[in-house]
Symmetry: C2
Subunit: 231 residues, 2 copies
């Protein structure tokens, strides 16, 4: 199983997937010709606009792209996919649509068979057992929070120690400590913007310059340095 | 129907409910002797600790307090309540427990009969038709996002224009614009910290110094000044 799970598409002040070009190219290699793209997390812009934006980046790297919203038979497209890329946006919207189109089982199956999976932000959330560690607003109610379960841990994308100045709301760490308190046994990796998790079967490697943060129930959170990760 | 819906319990640098003492006292008046308290949103501290903290504040205002987690028969306690206060914490946790204890219908019924309802943060979220405009992480999966529906609009508590410095994630306004795009016909009031909505039947009044922000699908967001609100 091969996964490339990005915290985010766009670093602060950066360009769309700009920080990940080389990593994506290396990950997909020369064997993949066309990528199946999943734009379902888009809310305020069209699936066409989102897939065009992604096609530009992947095209420049030498890959063709087909968006799942534009094919007549989505499950068949998954069946034939050489690689799958799932974009960010709203995680609830994305998961609701994956349930609605009955795509969770086919995608899970194909990725477990070895089809490379790239996700960013919401696309990384849905690679986890559930979407319970998303930062997104629950604007849409999916039939279940259960997601692809491609990794045995949760990711919190866009992880940050920052807080809004003069604001009383919870910090991200407080929210994740609540998660592990309510879900003992399920660890969370807080993945800072710019960071990427590369998964090759049971091997998990943190790419990027910044440490990630590991949350487990009953333990203090701890930094994880870039390199191989033990969850 | 009488509701006092607070954005938050604690202003930045302030004390627990400190900004709302006078308003709460005026709202409850002299007829209420004891308040039924709902601490179910607590995650990382006990219901006992949360209710003790609230009992101190309400006690100082001259009101007794009984916490619903400590009574033998919760629906019966709702039936006899002179007033109901629902505390903040995690909205998903709160709503899941309200569903589990089958308290949504009894509370809705009593409040519609005139029993005063005070909520802050998550307690204000659950007064709305659904919890789709909470800021909280979905750490627990409730059977449904449907909530008390005491008001015909959504509230976003802890509303802020601020953002985390050098961070790429969505702003609050972006999230709420996504909500109204995905849920046309349902307006949202973004309620800044320190602000309170007082509802007396169909009359809605914004209390506090700051404007709130009204979001409606297909429209620009607009400021609402303190005073009577037309949603």
């Amino acid at each position: 199983m091969r996964l490339l799970l990005l915290s985010n598409s766009t670093n602060y002040g950066g360009t769309f997937l700009g920080h990940a070009h080389d990593t994506i190219h290396e990950f997909l290699g020369m064997d993949v010709g066309e990528i199946l793209f999943v734009p379902y997390a888009a809310v305020r812009f069209s699936f066409d606009a989102m897939s065009a934006k992604a096609a530009e980046v992947f095209g420049a790297l030498g890959y063709g792209m087909k968006s799942i919203h534009s094919v007549p038979n989505a499950p068949a497209a998954v069946e034939e996919a050489q690689a799958i890329a799932v974009a960010g946006g709203n995680t609830f919207q994305l998961l609701a649509r994956l349930h609605q189109e009955q795509l969770l089982d086919p995608i899970r199956e194909r990725v477990r068979e070895g089809v490379p999976y790239i996700g960013w932000s919401a696309g990384s959330n849905v690679a986890c057992p559930t979407i319970r560690t998303t930062n997104d607003m629950p604007i849409t109610e999916p039939p279940s929070f259960d997601a692809l379960g491609l990794v045995p841990f949760q990711i919190n994308p866009h992880f940050t120690d920052g807080r809004i100045p003069n604001h009383g709301g919870e910090t991200r760490s407080e929210r994740l400590l609540e998660f592990v308190a309510a879900n003992p046994g399920m660890p969370v990796i807080g993945l800072r913007e710019g960071s990427i998790l590369q998964v090759e079967d049971d091997r998990v490697v943190l790419l990027g310059d910044a440490p990630a943060v590991l949350f487990k129930s009953g333990q203090e959170s701890q930094d994880i340095e870039p390199g191989q990760v033990e969850v």
